[in-house]
């Protein structure tokens, strides 16, 4: 029987579960929307959602009798790694644009005073 830590890393090894996490990162989704999105049976999607809930990444925000109307949301602490990853992407492009700016300035005509690039 795999121990709990092994199962936890397995949570994100699955492409469907990663995509569910990304979808929920944008906004909460009802179960019906998730069932429609993936080409698999409802029990298969439900199993992914159950694993995500057990992992502590996903909460159920609304739980009416109709399972299809159940609303899933990403827990706030799970958003921060995604935000941090996007910050790394931003850092990547900041470095590239800085290099581009130096390249452009280096090609200015001699005698023309180069301008400092401004980052935002």
């Amino acid at each position: 029987m795999p121990d709990k830590l092994d199962r936890t890393f397995g949570i994100l090894a699955d492409a469907t579960r990663r995509e569910i996490v990304m979808m929920l990162a944008r906004r909460p989704h009802r179960a019906a929307e998730l069932f429609e999105r993936f080409r698999m049976t409802q029990p298969a999607v439900s199993r992914h959602l159950r694993l995500l809930r057990q992992s502590g990444l996903v909460d159920v925000r609304a739980e009416p009798d109709d399972q299809r109307a159940r609303e899933y949301a990403l827990r706030p602490e799970a958003l921060r790694p995604v935000e941090r990853w996007l910050e790394e992407v931003t850092t990547f492009w900041k470095a590239q644009l800085d290099s581009f700016a130096r390249y452009v300035e280096g090609r200015q005509r001699p005698g023309e005073r180069p301008r400092r690039p401004r980052h935002r």
Binding site: K4, L5, R7, T8, F9, I11, L12, A15, R18, E19, V21, M22, M23, A25, R26, R27, P28, S55, G56, L57, A73, L74, P76, E77, A78, L79, R80, P81, V82, E83, R84, W85, L86, E87, E88, V89, T90, F92, W93, K94, A95, Q96, L97, D98, S99, F100, A101, R102, Y103, V104, E105, R107, Q108, E112, P114, R115, P117, R118, H119, R120
Partner: protein, 151 residues
């Protein structure tokens, strides 16, 4: 509850008009693209980046300097000098149907041209787990999961 827009944005101002900035951005990418290993899919084989400067043209991580061929990283979806360049971007470890979208705008400002890069991962949900090129952000999520499992 807050949500995350899967978009990274950054901008810089360079001297000169947009037409010059657009030209140098595309024709000069072989020179200005950074050399550190984190900026290449295959840093050992990569020689230069190269745009095929036309709609539908490729962005290539060049491995063979004789013919300019290598790994296709992107396809130009908008070639609109001097103000707009857009391309798809993907790396080989992503699932086949996943691409990200890069949008580059060149706008006149007092000091020259403001160049804005917008990188949108809405169509590439696997990117955070498959992108060594951007660092270890996803590892933080794994650590979070591990902490939860141990609790």
């Amino acid at each position: 509850m807050s949500q995350v827009e899967m978009v990274a944005r950054t901008r810089v101002v360079v001297p000169g008009p947009p037409s010059e900035a657009f030209r140098l951005f595309t024709e000069g990418i072989g020179t200005w693209w950074k050399r550190g290993t984190q900026f290449w899919v295959d840093p050992e084989r990569g020689r230069a980046m190269r745009f095929e400067s036309r709609p539908g043209g490729r962005l290539i991580e060049v491995y063979d300097e004789r013919n300019g061929e290598g790994l296709e990283l992107g396809r130009i979806t908008a070639w609109e000098p001097p103000h707009h360049l857009a391309l798809t971007w993907r790396i080989p470890t992503w699932p086949d149907h996943e691409v990200s979208d890069i949008d580059v705008r060149f706008v006149v400002v007092e000091q020259g041209t403001e160049v804005t890069v917008l990188h949108d991962f809405t169509r590439a949900p696997s990117a955070p787990t498959r992108s060594r090129i951007y660092g270890d952000g996803w590892k933080v999520l794994l650590d979070l999961l591990a902490a939860h499992a141990r609790a």
